[in-house]
């Protein structure tokens, strides 16, 4: 008992008042804490978990991620451009904290295993000395005059700004009769226990295909069932589609093997002794289907554990699974509540050519967290991020080098921009990385923003947004098959565009 008390006394961030409270110690919470500390914004980090890592302590089930960390890449480890080739490491200014996930990878794949990812995150937290109050459960939230009060298992916290970084790992099922009888993806058993079984998997997104891939050597037959056809990443040109590494079941389906991928809506599920009966109706082609299966797995996705925030007026969308957010990831309806991590998908952005942000994954949201920290510091605590001046002759080469190599722009296409502004007295200023939706919609001084975009044909190219007298125009520069955007042609195009502005 004495030891327990002593341990409890050493826990950081005791209940009390803090300028900012972050809930969550996954990659979103850790990245935000790191960035806030660099800016000198005092904050507490609370986590219900026993240690850092968030969802990577539990998922993905079959051990390997779907985002790359390339040990050998066109950019050297430890440089800023390398982050584009290493989507899983958190971002840091100190070399000892950078590119940590590849340090732990054994070379068997350029997708880290869950264990390798978890070690990278734990090491980041340890080396950067990121503290969190672990084992502290967020239980309730109240709005106060100038912020929020959080009721936790350890006591009450008050703060001016709340950053919710709780992930999107709460199992979710649609309201189909009988689906409550079916285990969710998170309760999928060891693959060998499905030996010689007929398995119905409800869902044709990554988690559905992940399970199908794991069961291929074991299941007698696999039926993948969902209303819409599978969207593949190589077709959608985004990580929103099913990733190539899970395509074996799809190929099996295409060749007519033991896997069937069917476009059908599940009407209901019944138990039949030890098994299940699934009733479904065709969508892209009409037809009624009844499947008797030994096992059914609901790979129907996840939702955000938003606690009682809806009661404060938090608007949500995507069937109540995501909060509606401003371009700086603040609730559109409850100012002062911000989000970090995968929930930053709630700020949709421009979604040009249908390509969503990459905010659902670490590769994208780690950049959001840095931008969020800068925004919080300025908006709530009057801590201004330096905006270095840029000489006029440097503007074009600088913007082109950014769109060629900046990981923020490559990880977050049409979503995060490098912005330069013009001040009549102070000259050209580097405004840093800014959400594109904010730049094009919020107004401001004359300025230029550059982003990377991918068009309908799949070509990557720079796009420039120029603001003159409050009006923003879009200009798409040429693509290049080798992604070289620093050619004389690009130089000439951009120089002409910025003529008279910068």
């Amino acid at each position: 008992m004495a030891l327990k008390k002593a341990t409890k006394r050493r826990k950081p961030f005791p209940p009390g008042r803090y300028p900012v409270v972050i809930i969550g110690s996954g990659p979103g919470g850790l990245q935000t804490s790191y960035a806030l500390r660099r800016l000198g914004v005092e904050h507490a980090v609370l986590s219900a978990d026993a240690g850092p890592g968030g969802m990577f302590l539990r998922f993905p089930l079959f051990q390997r991620l779907i985002s790359w960390s390339k040990p050998y890449a066109p950019a050297a480890r430890g440089t800023r451009p390398y982050a584009w080739y290493d989507w899983n490491s958190l971002l840091a200014d100190d070399r000892a904290h950078q590119a940590l996930v590849p340090e732990f990878m054994d070379g068997s794949s350029y997708f880290p295993s869950r264990g390798e990812m978890a070690r990278g995150l734990t090491t980041f937290a340890r080396r950067a000395r990121l503290a969190a109050r672990y084992g502290c459960r967020w239980e309730a939230t109240r709005k106060t005059g100038d912020g929020f009060t959080l009721v936790t298992s350890d006591g009450e916290y008050t703060c001016r700004a709340l950053v919710v970084a709780v992930g999107m790992a709460e199992p979710w099922k649609p309201d189909v009769p009988g689906l409550d009888l079916v285990p969710h993806y998170v309760r999928t058993r060891a693959p060998r226990t499905y030996a010689d079984q007929r398995v119905v998997i409800l869902g044709k997104r990554n988690s559905g295909f992940e399970v199908a891939d794991a069961l291929l050597p074991w299941a007698r037959q696999i039926i993948l069932l969902s209303p819409r056809p599978a969207l593949l990443s190589i077709q959608s040109r985004s990580t929103a589609g099913v990733r190539a590494r899970y395509l074996l079941p799809y190929e099996d389906h295409a060749l007519g093997g033991g896997v069937v991928a069917l476009d059908a809506a599940t009407n209901r599920v019944e138990r039949t002794g030890a098994g299940y009966r699934v009733f479904a109706a065709g969508t892209t082609r009409p037809g009624e289907f009844v499947f008797d299966a030994d096992a059914v797995i609901a790979a129907t996705g996840f939702t955000t554990p938003l606690g009682d925030l809806r009661a404060l007026g938090l608007a949500t969308f995507n069937q109540d699974r995501l909060p509606a957010l401003t371009p700086f990831w603040e609730s559109t309806t409850v100012p002062g509540i911000f989000f970090a991590g995968t929930v930053t998908q709630g700020a949709i952005g421009l979604k040009k050519h249908g390509i969503p942000s990459n905010s659902g994954g670490v590769g994208g949201f780690r950049h959001n967290a840095r931008v969020l920290a800068g925004y919080l510091a300025e908006k709530h605590f009057a801590i201004t991020t330096p905006r270095p001046t840029v000489r006029a002759a440097e503007v074009v080469p600088y913007l082109l080098s950014e769109v060629a190599r900046a990981p923020e722009l490559w990880n977050q296409r049409s979503y995060l921009a490098r912005v330069l502004s013009v001040d009549p007295r102070e000259g050209i200023r580097d405004e840093g990385i800014v959400p594109l939706a904010h730049f094009v919609d919020a107004g401001g001084p004359d300025a230029a923003a550059i982003v990377l975009e991918t068009d309908q044909a799949g070509d990557h190219h720079p796009a420039v947004y120029v603001r003159r007298s409050g009006r923003v125009t879009e200009h798409v520069l040429s693509s290049d098959p080798l992604h070289n955007f620093e050619t004389p042609e690009h130089h000439a195009q951009l120089t002409a565009l910025l003529n008279g502005l910068l």
Partner: protein, 139 residues
């Protein structure tokens, strides 16, 4: 939108999807993504390429051409289809007037969707015909 059943019921009540069977409506619910826009937020941006197609589920939106309001859109209205079909940037801004919920279909998926559900194409054609007839063509 609280649940999938509610979303499908809502879709069934929109003229655009009125001819679809229940399973087809489920496929629509999985193909379009629900998006929420706060008051004043822009959904379509005049002159910007790569836009998508939207159907209003609840709320209202204003159509602005060069900063002047030209029309108001409401539940069931479709917008963004002209720029997607023609492959041209929108000729207007569409801005949320109060909280707005839409279903969005990525531009590159529109052709395949309309070919899969010809009754939706026909309904969309009817809506365009009405716009032409009333000379309420804001594009």
């Amino acid at each position: 939108m609280a649940s999938q059943v509610e979303l499908i019921d809502t879709l069934a009540g929109l003229a655009l999807f009125a001819d679809l069977s229940r399973p087809q409506l489920e496929a629509v619910a999985h193909t379009f993504e629900e998006e929420y826009f706060a008051d004043g937020q822009r959904i379509l941006r005049q002159g910007f390429s790569g836009s998508n197609l939207y159907v209003i589920v609840s709320g209202q939106a204003a159509v602005h051409v060069d900063g002047t309001q030209r029309a108001t859109l409401a539940r069931g209205d479709v917008f963004g289809e002209i720029s997607v079909l023609l492959g041209e940037p929108p000729a207007a801004d569409v801005v949320a007037m109060g909280p707005l919920r839409c279903l969005a279909l990525p531009g590159p998926e529109v052709e395949g969707f309309l070919l899969t559900y010809p009754r939706v194409s026909y309904r969309m054609l009817q809506a365009e015909a009405r716009r032409v007839r009333t000379a309420n063509l804001w594009r």
